[in-house]
Subunit: 105 residues, 2 copies
Amino acid sequence: MSAFAATPEPPYYAVIFTSLMSDDTQGYAAMAERMLELAAQRPGFLGVESARETLGITVSYWRDRDAITAWKQDIDHRHARQLGRERWYAAYRVRIAYVEREYPR
Amino acid sequence: MSAFAATPEPPYYAVIFTSLMSDDTQGYAAMAERMLELAAQRPGFLGVESARETLGITVSYWRDRDAITAWKQDIDHRHARQLGRERWYAAYRVRIAYVEREYPR
């Protein structure tokens, strides 16, 4: 799997998730891996790019807003997000963005 | 400076820049720092978030597309991008995206 997401010709959507970890990281890595597996199976999932230093940045790409909304409502994903808020993340931001251009192609 | 960009209420724009470094990193760090300083002085610059593991992800936020275009045309920035393509990056992607939502606020 390439580090780059193999996204199609725009337009499509991006979810830019930035986070700072708390001191409690128990169970986080396994859950993150599991959520990536589940997301990748969703209709409309286009790919993901991720890096962490102090700040973690994960950008997932989606066909449209409906695909993002459906994944947000997934029960396992809801549970994971709740644990994230309660335990793993000191702070986070989510930005939903409409990708208009991508280059080089 | 917080790791998170202090972006305003959407809408605004994001430039999602993902990259893989080449083996030639000489001069890269100083140039990246210089470009960040210059970008931060541009009208319409809203902030930046960055992380690198294997993949580097830098998301810069801008008031509108005109601000992005003006920064893209900056002569020092053009020179830096040329060096990036020729020396520092094995591969990269740029995505221009319209941020519709941000939470929590």
